[in-house]
């Protein structure tokens, strides 16, 4: 790689702005409480609105209130995996030092969210469709996403050398991205029991405002909560490695002394 001359704009400087763990810690110092607090506020309002003030659906009745959990979980499951794949690219291509740590921390949170998406979907499907689970394209592709998350977690821990684990997991994360468009378009490509998306970029939402508003508040709250969890976990991971480094440095200096 050619050396950049001083004064020349460094390529990818933006990416490396947060490469320094110390800088990230300073960022997280105010970002984490901010994200946590705003997530708490949005979720409190959203949950109360969803449970008591939003209208019951004309055919689903009150069971429609599960939508306010299921839809954010489904969107975050896909979004979290996209973030995981982005970390994989940053790690493989740019060797970004924080990307691997972030991938380790996003994985379990994403797996829990995907699991919740499946569980809430099941709890919604039983009273509405009449089945806990069916093997249609939408449900199956989300189950595949769940296993991709689990595989990612397992792969990172499978190697003695953490660097090799990071690399293998990054490859899996990037390859698994194929599942995201399959999940998104499964309801349009094949006929499924699962209904098509109510909220799309191309069409007006097929949902009245009285349901759309609480849904967007819940979605904002859960997204902020996801961001807060990942930021906090990354902060904890950096602090843990720092403690580890201090411990080894101390052990080395003690060995040198004796």
């Amino acid at each position: 790689m050619p050396e950049t001359l001083p004064g020349q704009p460094v390529k990818g400087a933006f990416l490396h702005r947060f490469a320094n763990p110390g800088r990230f810690l300073r960022l997280a110092h105010w970002l984490f409480p901010l994200l946590s607090a705003s997530s708490g506020i949005f979720l409190t309002i959203g949950m109360i609105w969803a449970l008591w003030f939003s209208p019951a659906d004309w055919q689903q009745g009150d069971a429609v209130r599960i939508m306010y959990l299921h839809v954010p979980m489904a969107m975050l499951a896909s979004g979290g995996y996209a973030a995981l794949a982005l970390c994989g690219v940053l790690s493989l291509v740019w060797k970004h030092p924080l990307a691997d740590l972030a991938a380790v921390e996003i994985g379990p949170v994403g797996a829990v969210i995907t699991g919740l998406c499946l569980v809430t979907g099941s709890l919604w499907g039983k009273p509405m469709w009449g089945a806990w689970w069916v093997w249609d394209a939408r449900l199956t592709s989300v189950l595949v996403l769940f296993f991709l998350y689990l595989g990612h977690i397992a792969l990172i821990q499978a190697f003695d050398d953490p660097q090799r684990g990071y690399r293998a997991a990054a490859v899996l994360a990037i390859a698994g991205v194929i599942d995201l468009p399959i999940i998104k378009f499964s309801v349009n490509w094949w006929n499924t029991l699962h209904q098509p998306d109510s909220i799309t970029l191309t069409h007006a939402p097929t949902m009245p405002e009285s349901m759309l508003l609480p849904l967007s508040i819940c979605l904002t709250g859960f997204s902020l909560g996801f961001a807060a969890l990942v930021t906090g976990r990354l902060q904890a991971a950096i602090l843990e490695t720092r403690a580890e480094q201090m411990l080894t440095r101390r052990a080395r200096s003690q060995n040198g002394l004796s």
């Binding site: 790689m1 050619p2 990818g12 209208p55 019951a56 659906d57 004309w58 055919q59 689903q60 009745g61 429609v64 939508m67 690219v89 493989l92 291509v93 740019w94 009273p127 509405m128 469709w129 009449g130 089945a131 069916v134 093997w135 249609d136 394209a137 990037i174 390859a175 991205v177 194929i178 399959i182 490509w189 094949w190 006929n191 499924t192 029991l193 209904q195 098509p196 998306d197 109510s198 007006a204 939402p205 097929t206 949902m207 009245p208 405002e209 009285s210 349901m211 759309l212």
Partner: protein, 171 residues
Amino acid sequence: MTRKSRRLWLVLSCLACFAVASGLVLNAFSSSIVFFMAPSQILREPPAVDRVIRLGGMVVAGSLKRSLEGQTPINQFDITDGQAAIAVRYEGILPDLFREGQSVVALGTYLKGSPFSASEVLAKHDETYMPKEVADALRKSGKWDPRFGKPPSAESLDSMARHDTDAQAHR
């Protein structure tokens, strides 16, 4: 080309190859990924008599007949996709969402000439959501009958409500 951009292109081309491969696989298996078949499809190519298939479509308005045989409820109704209709016979309790005009998926076997004998009926709800009060109001004013087709879109609901209030104001 720097090492970084070479790595980036490598990753992207691997991903593209993998995407094409999985696209081809999905395309090849497309017919088995489909969760259900429409009545016209089944009539065009009748499946083997003992093969369990899923039949999907809308319950024809006015076709539902319920009866009791001992303790088990017998339900008979027609499923249509707009082009053809197949009669279905199902013993058991129908799901809550089942109604005339609703999309359903029935699991069972089909023998030409006799009704589709279903062992399981699932209700499929569409992507439109509507408050109960709005639906009742629409039904009362005769703007929409759930037995015949989809509810109006969320936008048109608002304009319909506005139209109603305007009409009342003129009166």
